[in-house]
């Protein structure tokens, strides 16, 4: 099939964008997709969309393509582009502009009146245009009615179509939409709204710790949120093993868990086959198929609510929580470390046990999840105790390895 910069769905380009942006060291052969032609087409497409951020590197025996992006220096998420590249037919584009034009006077019109107007006022303008038949028009009206671009009213026995009143004063929303289109989930919808303004927004906002990649999952996120609000069970098609293997999971989505530090989003869902709550990576979900309404939705929500105080990250309750205690050496002049403890602890308690010692304690289902955070206090840890001995041991073994890596004494600990 001939190359086209527009796409039918975002799933394939989502994989390529992730490869080029997150990893950025793989050659054409290593990306591991269907064919080299497919690779070349997707690369060309991404180049066309994001040429400002695309880089290439030629090593001894391979060429590598990668995207360089620094979220603090870029005002608008470049990955929203993928959502603005939907392919369409000539009837789609013709009817879009013609219907909006016919209905611009706010007068309702019947199907017959619309087709007459299309023929007389638009088709007649061109030499031998392809006709637009009634069924195509009817289908488009149904689609536009469903998404809210056109209203349908009943008059006598016939339906009339008109444009909805746009009572929302968008000018007053511009700053808010500019901010939330970057600083909120599903920000791509805000980006669609920003496209409606004649003038681009003032460059007021910038964003730190922003994960552009989340934008690629917005379609799946929207489907998950719809099922949460409809209290529906869903069939999730997920990809594992670098997207080579697929599996289907029947689950009841309950909440969205977002990591502001790890670049990952999860759905907390009750998984029927496991009979418990699991956290599923959203970037691993390819498809969300809504099933029946779930009568036990509120029960599962409560189950999650009960678990939440002991979930440090995204590890669900397998067994009883483990108790963990960490004592830190903090000089009174280093109050910022105490502030760090207070703002970074997600659960648990902090207490001062001497002038220079502070204790953090918590009960969590998976203390292993805490290790990365505990490591950030290296240099101040007086003691670390955990009822899960493996976590305690792993922490100190890792520290020992770290010490050796930087030339430390092997018998230091």
């Amino acid at each position: 099939m001939a190359y086209n910069e527009l796409i039918k769905d975002v799933s394939r380009i989502r994989d390529y964008l992730r490869e080029f942006f997150v990893y950025g060291f793989k050659s054409r052969e290593q990306v591991g997709t269907k064919s080299t032609r497919s690779y070349d087409n997707e690369k060309r497409r991404i180049e066309s969309w994001l040429s400002d951020y695309m880089s290439f590197r030629q090593d001894a025996n391979q060429k590598t393509v990668f995207l360089i992006l620094d979220s603090r220096h870029i005002a608008h998420n470049p990955f929203y582009t993928a959502w603005k590249a939907a392919s369409f037919t000539k009837n789609d584009i013709n009817l879009h502009f013609i219907l909006l034009d016919i209905l611009a006077d706010k007068n309702p019109r019947s199907l017959t009146e619309l087709i007459e107007s299309i023929d007389n006022d638009y088709m007649a303008f061109f030499d031998c245009p392809d006709e637009i038949d009634v069924s195509t028009l009817r289908k488009k009206l149904k689609e536009y009615t469903e998404i809210g671009l056109i209203n349908r009213i009943q008059e006598g026995k016939q339906h009339l179509y008109l444009l909805p009143d746009n009572e929302i004063p968008l000018d007053l929303w511009k700053d808010a939409v500019t901010f939330f289109s970057e600083g909120n989930p599903l920000g791509v919808i805000g980006s669609f709204i920003l496209d409606k303004y004649k003038e681009p927004p003032l460059p007021i906002f910038s964003f730190k710790h922003q994960y552009f990649l989340f934008a690629l999952d917005d379609g799946i996120l929207l489907d998950l949120l719809s099922s949460i609000h409809d209290k529906k069970q869903v069939e999730l098609e997920t990809a594992t093993d670098h997207r080579r293997r697929h599996r289907k999971i029947i689950a009841v989505p309950l909440k969205i868990y977002i990591s502001t530090q790890g670049g990952r989003q999860y759905v907390a869902a009750y998984v029927s086959s496991k009979k418990r709550i699991q956290f599923i990576r959203i970037d691993a979900i390819n498809k969300v198929k809504p099933l029946d309404t779930c009568c036990e939705f509120a029960f599962y929500q409560d189950m999650l609510k009960d678990d939440m105080p002991h979930v440090w990250g995204v590890s669900p309750a397998f067994h009883e929580p483990s108790h963990i205690e960490m004592t830190l050496n903090i000089d009174p002049k280093d109050a910022h470390i105490i502030n760090r403890l207070k703002r970074e602890k997600r659960s648990g308690n902090i207490s001062q046990i001497s002038e220079t010692e502070w204790k953090f304690s918590a009960d969590v289902y998976d203390p292993g999840e805490m290790i990365p955070w505990l490591r950030t206090f290296i240099g101040r840890i007086c003691s670390l105790k955990c009822t899960d001995r493996r976590t305690q041991q792993l922490f100190w073994e890792d520290f020992d390895t770290l010490n050796k890596m930087y030339g430390g004494n092997e018998n230091a600990l």
Partner: protein, 306 residues
Amino acid sequence: MLFSEVYSAYFNAIAAIITDTLEGEINEKRIVRIIRDRAFSESVLSIIPSLKNGDWLIMDKNFNTPIKNKPSMPLTILQKRWLKALLLDPRIRLFDICVSGLEHVEPLFTPDDFVYFDRYLDGDPFTDESYILHFRTILKAFYEQRRLNIEYRNRHNKSVNGRFIPYRLEYSSKDDKFRLETAGGRYAAYINLSRIKSCTLAENYEGERLIIPKRQEALVQFTLKNERNALERVMLHFSDCRKETRRLDDDTYDVKLTYEALDETEILIRILSFGPMLKVTGPEHFIGLIRERIRMQLALSGTIKI
């Protein structure tokens, strides 16, 4: 539906082309510019032929159009529901918006749908009246190109006064905080909004002569050992930063990470959180920072019981 041609760059470009045509300002050069602004770098190759060959019943080869009104697409239900959802976010109070037209719209989501499980707990007081006032004064300063008189507490809790040119309002989802980046100085200077005690508009400045603050950049290089899925975790974790990765062998990678020099401690902590999966290889100064943390830890080791 999120993925639809009605939101596409092509439809936006065509709408802008029709608008300019109706305003009598169209020619091929102008069309090319609109397409480059609104669509993609190769879009010219498909849009212009489709317009000229009569495939799209939008205009003829001489750029005459049967369309009589400037295209104006109403908001879709999805867009209205997204706006309605914003009304439930405490940060919406920072903006002087008008809620009319959304009365009977269902929000697309609610704050309760999300858990930001690793977000810091001392986020800004977005509903505090003084905070809102300061935020809106800053927004006004951007539009009116005015300097700001700001009194704030610095990180040593000392009161500081100054006259600043606002450059950017920076939001961090991790910190759940706004900081004002100011211009005029040699390097970027930041003021946490929650630390502002007073903020008033001062005289105008000339936007054209604004000196853009330079963010002093630094670079750290490290080797990544792909154990315990470290490759994926590190790549995603640092995907908010500018980085370049090379494969050294089957499970070892070299990563160069660029960051703002002011954030050195934060980057140090982020690297430390990966433990022995990452080994900093340069610069020497950064290696020294890691060694110092290890040395401090070893000094405490007498009290440690494994």
